[in-house]
């Protein structure tokens, strides 16, 4: 057992009596919301918007290519999240990266497809699935699904069993095979690094979404990637999906991926 966990268990009883820093304090703070702020109970303030949502992307790979923003999207993420560059495909850590059609949509590839569509680079990342297998197989709930649909990763709790990597059919997860700080030239002080032996992946910029901002890659895409709540029929993403033909990766597995790829080109040129 880790020391900290042990301390938590040992001190939990005593600490809650010392100060009401407990779940109880949170619930009573919620109950008294609307009253004078001075009279609110101390403790964690519940600001999380728990309305059920399902964040998703609508990705227009053609537009990404036209705007030439792929490298910006990937670079913004890599830098902000302190993603190590091990320089070895065996041990590399990836949150968002580019793959050609034959790898991204292996089961849909056809030799008769137009070359532009085939050769284009498609951004791939965690699909923040409706029914994520990684969450199902994780033995410690280190990975879990938030009520807004984000499949989140808690690196403090991960034991590095890599079950989620076996469970993810999108290859979206990476293990820190080494201490990531050995492979970071520049550390962004506003975001923690990870430690060796834990699994990580795209968190959909949960820390930005919670502040009302959009994910970094969406921002860097200059409009080529749309972001929004798929449960909301009036959201930008929902409306975009009504107007275009789209595909998703490995739908037959029943995971319910939430990264939608707009397909265009072939039909337009016809």
């Amino acid at each position: 057992m880790e020391r900290r966990t042990f301390l938590k268990a040992a001190a939990a009883v005593g600490a809650t009596s010392l100060l009401p820093v407990s779940a109880m304090a949170v619930s009573s703070a919620m109950a008294s919301s609307g009253e004078d702020a001075q009279r609110e109970e101390p403790g964690v303030v519940d600001t999380y918007d728990a309305t059920p949502k399902q964040w998703g992307f609508v990705i227009d790979a053609k537009k990404i290519e036209e705007l030439g923003v792929m490298d910006d999207m990937i670079g913004a993420c890599n830098h902000a999240h302190n993603i190590p560059q091990t320089g070895d495909p065996k041990t590399e850590v990836k949150w968002i990266w580019a793959e050609p059609f034959e790898n991204t949509f292996a089961d849909m590839e056809s030799e008769y497809m137009d070359e532009e569509t085939l050769d284009r680079a498609y951004p791939v990342l965690c699909n923040h699935c409706d029914n994520p297998p990684c969450v199902r197989v994780c033995p410690t709930k280190a990975t879990f699904k938030r009520s807004d649909g984000i499949v989140m990763m808690d690196p403090h709790r991960c034991i590095g069993c890599r079950f989620c990597m076996g469970g993810c059919p999108y290859g979206a997860r990476s293990l820190n095979f080494f201490d990531p700080r050995l492979y970071l030239d520049e550390i962004n002080p506003d975001y923690p690094t990870r430690t060796k032996g834990v699994v990580e992946k795209c968190t959909l910029c949960a820390e930005r979404i919670d502040k009302g901002e959009i994910p970094l890659c969406v921002e860097a895409s200059k409009g080529a990637v749309l972001f929004g709540d798929l449960n909301d029929p009036d959201s930008e993403v929902s409306r975009a999906l009504k107007e275009a033909f789209f595909i998703r990766r490995r739908v037959s597995l029943g995971t319910g991926p939430n990264m939608y790829y707009i397909v265009s080109g072939g039909a337009e040129n016809a």
Partner: protein
């Protein structure tokens, strides 16, 4: 009884020291892995489990196979296995221990392992695997020790030993079933995602486990006073033969389903194993060896003349064991990652560091097994020789027994 492990011949001590050296090397290699991370292994982003997990699956099987001796003895009152059943239980103890160690050495953050209990997650198969494996380990320690203590005093085993033996039977089946469920519940890993996987696991376990047990019995004939009857060995060999035939049959069912349906996702892993795909041929030679061993082993075991001749029997047993070891202890896990999520084939080769860690775990398993078998054999030897020799040792035992029973009496 434990003191018997400290009295032995020079050969016994040489063997123990050899094992300790192997364990020491393994611990050093593991320390290197702990300090530098799992990057010192051959595992990768694409092949995220390697030999550690494959060997884990194999040794859960060896552990489960204890029931192939226990069921005939406890459920069918098959007396011939009376002297062997305890060796099956102690083999299970060593094998479960090895399986658990293989999981621990595979973890990226082993110090956090208690999180599995602290944040128990019933929808995760690992949680159940941990539950059944640790229960099965405890059961076998209790049963084996209880039975041996009773035997030493010349009594039949206590009633609780029998009750636990019955409980252990469904646990043995469940440890390997849950281990199969670890793999076959993962979407998009087509080599694993088959309903027959638990059946395949159990059949290969019931072939490889008893095969190992017979070989251990032969070794004990050479190096100790314990003589298992030829009839018991023949019965066990028949079990190995049947189980291996079922195992091969199940595998051929996979081959038919994959290739007749012509499902690319199901064909590719098998093609990778036996012929290589896109230049990835690292498992072709092992799989050809495994195939020859599987059919050859069955041939040696199925004909009574070959089975009853101990020289050919041993050849057959080694062949069956090797076939299962390659199929489940290597290929099963690796082929599950072919192709990867991007329809690419990525190969895996274990590193030296990884192999040394595995050797260390084998060393620990063999040390536990040696000590438990040594105690059992010596207990039986002192029973046989009671009136003639070993007076000194007897006195020592009695004295210790008296000493230990004093506080209980008072």
């Amino acid at each position: 009884m434990l003191e018997k492990a400290f009295h032995g011949s020079k050969a016994y001590w040489a063997w123990i020291i050899f094992l300790l050296i192997i364990i020491g090397i393994g611990v050093a290699a593991y320390a290197n892995q702990l300090i530098n991370g799992l990057g010192v292994t051959g595992m990768s982003r694409d092949v995220s489990w390697g030999l550690y997990i494959a060997q884990f699956a194999f040794f859960v099987g060896v552990a489960a196979s204890g029931v192939m001796v226990a069921i005939p003895y406890y459920l069918h009152n098959y007396k011939l296995f009376g002297k062997v059943v305890i060796f099956g239980e102690f083999l299970a103890v060593a094998a479960v221990l090895m399986a658990m160690l293989f999981v621990v050495v595979d973890l990226g953050q082993p110090v956090r392992i208690m999180n599995v209990i602290l944040f128990a997650t019933p929808h995760a198969m690992i949680f159940w695997d941990m539950v059944v494996l640790s229960s099965y380990l405890l059961l076998n320690i209790l049963i084996g020790w209880g039975a041996l203590s009773a035997e030493r005093r010349g009594f039949p085993p206590a009633k609780w030993v029998k009750v636990l033996s019955y409980i252990a039977i469904p646990f043995a089946i469940s440890i390997h079933t849950v281990t199969a469920f670890l793999f076959c519940g993962l979407p998009g890993r087509d080599y694993w995602e088959t309903a027959i996987l638990a059946g395949r696991f159990l059949s290969s376990a019931f072939a490889s486990g008893p095969a190992l047990l017979i070989m251990l019995c032969f070794i004990m004939r050479k190096v100790s006073t314990f003589r298992v009857s030829d009839k018991a060995i023949d019965s066990l060999a028949k079990i190995v033969c049947y189980a291996m035939i079922i195992n091969v049959f199940f595998f051929l069912c996979e081959v038919f389903t994959s290739f007749y349906s012509a499902s690319p996702a199901h064909m590719l892993p098998i093609a990778y194993l036996f012929g290589g795909v896109e230049g990835a041929t690292n498992l072709v030679v092992p799989m050809i060896i495994a195939t020859i061993c599987a059919f050859g082993g069955i041939a040696f075991l199925i004909f009574p003349q070959l089975r009853k001749n101990h020289k050919t029997l041993i050849v057959g047993l080694i062949a069956v064991f090797l076939a299962c070891w390659i199929d489940k202890g290597i290929a099963l896990v690796l082929a599950g990652f072919v192709p990867n999520s991007f329809e690419q084939v990525v190969q895996y080769f274990p590193t030296l560091n990884e192999v040394l860690v595995i050797a260390g775990v084998y060393g620990i398993g063999m040390l536990v097994l040696t000590v438990l078998y040594k105690i059992t054999v010596d207990v039986r030897k002192s029973l046989d020789q009671r009136p003639v020799e070993a007076v000194d040792e007897d006195k020592m035992d009695e004295a210790m027994h008296a000493a230990s029973s004093v506080p209980a009496a008072s």
